[in-house]
Amino acid sequence: MAEAALRLDGVTSGYGEAMVLRDVSLTLLPGEILTVLGKNGMGKSTLLKTIMGFLPPREGRVHIHGRDVTRLPPHRRAGGSVSYSPQDQAIFQDLTVGENLRLGLRSDRGAAAAVERVTAFFPFLAQRGRQPAGTLSGGEQKMLIMARALLSNPRLLLIDEISEGLQPSVILRLAEVLRRECAARELTILIIEQNLRFALSVASRYAVLVRGEIVDGGRVAPGVEARIQDHLAV
């Protein structure tokens, strides 16, 4: 069996006294796309923060590409192979679109080609390279975050509710881009979503989080949407 791109063993984590995640275990193989679904406040964003190291787990271990990163700070986890696209608009408002993109890169070598590759996904980014990123609309900022996350050719990509505020046609394009990147480069993706249709159109597997525990999961197949809706409606 290939080495897992991401493995969580019995991870428990939370803020202060409150435990948000309880004994969560999951494994993602290279090239897989897993979507984690759940209602608000069930621990979805906390899961990503724990994987990235912004929130150290109380118990359990986190492995990325076979390396135990449980005690590593976020910037050392990100180390080139992991990209994180957080939910809160994480752009540098006063920098230009181009500068925001270049921050996603480790070095200037090959920067132009890399920027060209990701701006092909969202062409407006190329035209507005010199515009301050803070003047982009909410949806456009989301696309900038996505482009920046893909820029460094990550092997593992963590995405938190990217479809929020995007127009339907952009969501469709985004799904296509992610699937293509995944197939072409064995990119592994963990995606958190509220938009069920988008999530299931991208992901190969799903997991449902209820009060910090994974209560259901499996391959995305016809008919799972209704089953997931049941979990979300409770």
């Binding site: 608000n40 406040g41 979805k44 909410g138 456009e140 929020e164 339907p168 469709l172 069920l196």
Partner: protein, 598 residues
Amino acid sequence: MRLPSQRFRRELRILIMLVLCGLLIVAVGPLVLDRYSVSILVRSFLYGSIAVTVDILWGFTGILSFGQSAFFGIGAYACGLAFDHFGISPGVALAALAAGLAVAGLVALLVAWLAFGARVSALYVSVVTLVLAIVFVQVIYAGGNFTGSSSGLSDFDTFDLSTAAWFRIAGAGLVVVTALGWIFVRSDMGSLLVSIRENETRCRYFGISVTWVKGGLLLASAIVAALAGFAYAGYNDVVAPDLGNFQFGTQLVIWVALGGRGTLIGPAIVAVLVDFVSAYLSGSLPFIWQLIIGGVFIVVIVAMPQGLGPACVAVIRRLIARPADAAPVAARLIAVPLRPTARGAQTPAIQLTGVTRSYGSLHVLEDITFSGRSGELVSLVGPNGAGKTTLIRCISDGEERTAGRVALQGCEIGRMAPERCVRLGLGRKFQAPTVFDALTVGQSLRVARSRIERLSFWRCADEIRLPEAAMRVVRATGLDTQLATTVRHLSHGAKQALELAMVLAMEPSVLMLDEPTAGLTKSERTVIGGILMELVAQHGLCILLIEHDLAFVREISSRIIVLYQGRIVLDGAVEEVASSELVRTIYTGEPQALGEPV
């Protein structure tokens, strides 16, 4: 669950005990301390009082002032100048005090006017207050013999009071200022200060005159500082430019940081201790005492980044933990009917004529003209970057548009600031959740309603009155079980719901909602959609809604406007717009994503 007033009363009992202890110490101090210590402590107590005002300004409200020293200096010079030039008499003393407080107050209002405009950053007030302290010193230098220039004034006749009496006056003053400040920051008004620190824009859109609140606070703290300065000069019989310079202003800020921002008692104690110890060390260890103080400062900042106050409180809590203290505190929610609005259905609720917004040569909005009536839910759709949010901004802030006219409920908004538009009935929900991270859910709802129900300066209300619509949003999203939760710990979707509930709590008649249901589950969206329709149909609100989910838009709108590249390309009935070819091509990319009516 405890009520806010229960916690407040319990804390008040502790406060009263502390006040009594403080007064007792102040009363017996001169009897047990040596003469030198007593005379030093008079000054330390006065400094402590100003440190408390700096903490209310900076720790609670986020106003970092380096010029609190200047107000102290103004008070001191009012005393020194009057006694030096006119001699001492009750009349002169009273007139000098009144003049000192008046000048300090006027200068504070000038600073507020310069630094608290809607469009200047929070850093600006720090720069203005820094300059204020420098200007103060220059004015004293320029005064020649009248002000004593750089050597100041000394040896003037002053009050005939013993050191022990001054000790008791200054000590009691410190205790009273700290206690009043403490009651103030724990009252409902205190949560307003924190909400201003956390998100000033959101406060303005609740109709809160942030400039006035901050200005009033600066005025009050200037008067306290001037009073302390007056006492200082009256006691010490000497005034010098150093009393008002920015080095002293900065020292006050450092004491507050050391004592713990937002704790009041921490900064007061640290100010007294550091000043007192410094005076001793500067005598016995003249060359290295500043090194020692600096070293202590570094150790505290590294080991206790929150300051000494919170670190001590944590230790005390661990020693005398009581289960009652851990119980969550939240007020009760009470549903109230919407206040009837006396608005004619004839005037449009929103009226835009030729509204344009340009950044240089780039036109984000061009010649937008439309109106929305009461009882109408108008949805605004269009691709990302079409100008939807900018349009809402132009309707709710008079300074935003480049050209054109906007009227809300028949009143032209001209160049009105958001807080004045709110008074015309406007309510606005932002695109990204815009909430007060440091407040609890209950406090946030209370602050949101502050324009309708005034906040108390000395009490905590046990009831939060919410109109039915806000109440239903709170219940449908489970926020009613999280009233005691700090907003920082809410999930993204819960923050969205909270902001919507806060906006509804203001009882607006014109409601602007920018993607209000993003991040919420389908069932929550359905509930909120129902609430919006009801507000429109039964209460005659006019709602302008930005939303990407066309199926949702179809279900709840009375009318749809399509915005594309800054222009209105379609404005019509729901079916007509939603089924138009134009919408399919420019918006969804492909027809089947449109969503069929359910």
